[in-house]
């Protein structure tokens, strides 16, 4: 089928899945602050000083980032938007557009709280990007490819979570950092009035809701692809397994996140640079040793 039809189908599927994610998340984390907070859809007072171009561009850029990132997630044996050779690298890059969108909107809203949210989002980007890369490198090394379909195919014997538990734990933590859920809530904290979600209303609020729920879905889906074997499974069809694993991983991430205290930006940066990066390097070393001794896929 043509590229346009495929893209439209993918977009519709993603929007529905993002809605499902938002609904599930609100059932799971009842009453928590952060991006799961119900955003006022009735139109908050129009920001008087908002930047004419930057403020509306934010949610659009974030939504584009989410939709582009969904292209490389395999939902079944042939069900992938486009099997890029550098799929996982493309995924990391494209999810940075969500950060860019929050930054644009934070600055463009021109209130002290939203500019504070802009600072915190850049700090969180700096914190999560290197540990996330380290967590992914282990799975890439074992599968010997950056393409998501080949990573899923490499797990047909044994899932990577069994071989790389440290990498999986690292992915849980850095994935939470990437999604701005507990305990890394600072850009959307109630102390700054919810960050950009507190000042958005109307169609930007709807787009933010879609983009942030979709981001959580994508991070969980990529975790399922990398560590839980993607769509592989005994009785049920591929897409069903993929959705089950994605939402199970999402529930695990959110549940584990709630057990920790919310961290301030300085604590989060310290955690990332002093704990997660050394752990990531140890993980790469361990995976390298495993590959050297022949354990893992051929």
């Amino acid at each position: 089928m043509g590229v346009a039809v495929k893209a439209a189908l993918l977009a519709v599927a993603m929007l529905m899945l993002a809605w499902l994610t938002a609904w599930l998340e609100r059932r799971l984390v009842r009453g928590e602050p952060g991006p799961a907070l119900a955003v006022a859809l009735d139109g908050s007072p129009l920001l008087p000083n908002r930047d004419r171009w930057l403020y509306p561009a934010g949610p659009i850029v974030a939504l584009v980032g989410f939709l582009l990132g969904a292209v490389v997630i395999p939902f079944g044996p042939g069900l992938i938007g486009q099997d890029l050779d550098i799929g996982v690298f493309y995924f990391i890059v494209v999810l940075d557009f969500v950060v860019l969108g929050i930054a644009l909107s934070g600055w463009g809203a021109n209130t002290p709280d939203s500019v504070e949210a802009f600072y915190r989002i850049v700090a969180q980007l700096v914190a999560y990007v290197v540990p996330l890369g380290m967590a992914l490198v282990g799975a890439i090394m074992m599968a010997k490819s950056l393409s998501t379909t080949r990573i899923v195919a490499a797990q047909s014997g044994l899932w990577f979570i069994v071989l790389q538990p440290l990498g999986f734990a690292l992915y849980l933590v850095s994935g939470l950092m990437q999604c701005y859920r507990a305990p890394f809530l600072e850009p959307f904290a109630t102390g700054i009035g919810g960050g950009i979600l507190g000042v958005a209303g109307g169609w930007p609020a709807l787009l933010w809701r879609i983009a942030l729920s979709g981001l959580l879905f994508l991070v969980a889906a990529m975790g399922a692809v990398l560590f839980l074997g993607g769509w592989l499974g005994p009785w049920l069809p591929g897409p069903v397994w993929m959705l089950v694993k994605t939402y199970a991983l999402m529930a695990l991430m959110l549940g584990l996140g709630r057990l920790a205290q919310p961290l301030s930006v300085a604590q989060m940066l310290a955690l990332s640079w002093k704990v997660l990066i050394p752990v990531g390097l140890v993980n790469v070393l361990l995976v390298g040793l495993l590959i050297l001794f022949g354990i893992g896929p051929a």
Binding site: N49, D51, R52, W53, L54, D85, I86, F89, Y90, I92, V93, D96, F97, V99, L100, A103, L104, W107, N110, Y119, V122, L125, V126, V129, L146
Partner: protein, 306 residues
């Protein structure tokens, strides 16, 4: 002309336009934040050109590095500059050349500093509108009159404040050397373009590169270019350690540079006085901190044999 060719031409034109317009916007807009965003857009355009040239790994690398890099750069600009949002310059449209006014459209104008600028420019107590009109005519006039850019101090209406009021006005986007720089840039661009167009044809080949570039690049990095790879890693380590060391705040009380620290208002911690040489009686300090420290430091020195 197949549809694929047309798509390629359209994609090339779009990406090239974004790259050049982004760089131009970065150079001319009055708002620092927009400058960073324009540069990001320019890098996205160049990344698109890389993908068109079948170097998609390089394109994605560009995007990843420069989104993060430009966001951090914007943070530093917000830290250092007086007017990162461009509000001050947006209130003075007469100072900007037409291309700058185009890229600064829609900026929120800063209200507080309008009065100061009008006074500084006019020199006498004229109305604000008359000042702006004069400045606008003056700026446009000299834009046409000074094509060779010989005397950038020619009209003293809009230029004389550069020297006198640089302390509190951050006119970093409007400098007297703009015209010389613009002509220099045009000269360099025309020169390079002429070199490209008038040179006898390059020995181009028409075969397509292998699409599995990631594997080939990886093999090369670990094989032939291992030294460069390790050297780059070492360089990054040096850069990180150096930057962190430079940005640390010094805490030793003898350090002279400590007084230049921005925003430090309390007195520095006192060094304990020498126990052998008793402090002279006229050295009684006036500040509370010093008296506290001396009060703490005195009892031990009295107990020691003088």
């Amino acid at each position: 002309m197949t549809a694929f060719d047309i798509a390629q031409i359209v994609a090339f034109t779009l990406c090239a336009f974004i790259a050049v317009a982004g760089a131009l916007g970065m150079a001319t807009t009055m708002s620092m934040f927009r400058s960073g965003i324009f540069l990001m857009a320019s890098f996205l355009g160049v990344a698109g050109l890389f993908i068109l040239l079948a170097a998609d790994l390089m394109g994605l690398l560009q995007i990843m590095m420069y989104i993060g890099g430009m966001l951090v750069m914007i943070l530093f600009m917000v830290l250092f500059m007086h007017d990162p949002g461009g509000a001050m310059m947006a209130a003075m449209p007469g100072m900007m050349a037409p291309v700058e006014r185009f890229f600064s459209g829609g900026l929120q104008q800063g209200e507080g500093r309008n009065g100061d600028h009008a006074d500084m420019h006019a020199g006498n107590g004229e109305a604000k509108e008359a000042d702006r009109e004069n400045r606008q005519n003056g700026a446009n006039g000299e834009h046409h009159a000074q094509h060779d850019g010989m005397q950038h101090g020619g009209s003293d209406m809009s230029m004389n404040m550069e020297g006198t009021h640089m302390d509190d006005m951050d006119m970093s986007m409007v400098t007297p050397v703009r015209r010389i720089a613009a002509w220099l840039a045009v000269a360099i661009g025309v020169g390079l373009g002429a070199l490209v167009l008038l040179r006898p044809s390059w020995p181009t080949v028409t075969r397509h590169p292998d699409p599995r570039s990631a594997e080939a690049v990886g093999m090369l990095l670990m094989g032939k270019y291992m030294i460069a790879f390790e050297g780059a890693g070492f360089l990054i380590l040096l850069g990180i350690v150096g930057a962190v060391l430079m940005a640390r705040v010094e805490r030793h009380p003898d350090n002279g540079g400590r007084d230049a620290r921005v925003g430090r208002t309390d007195a520095p911690p006192q060094i304990a006085p020498d126990p052998v040489i008793p402090p002279s009686p006229d050295e009684r300090p006036n500040e509370e901190h010093a008296s506290e420290h001396h009060a703490v430091a005195h009892p031990p020195s009295h107990r020691r044999p003088a």
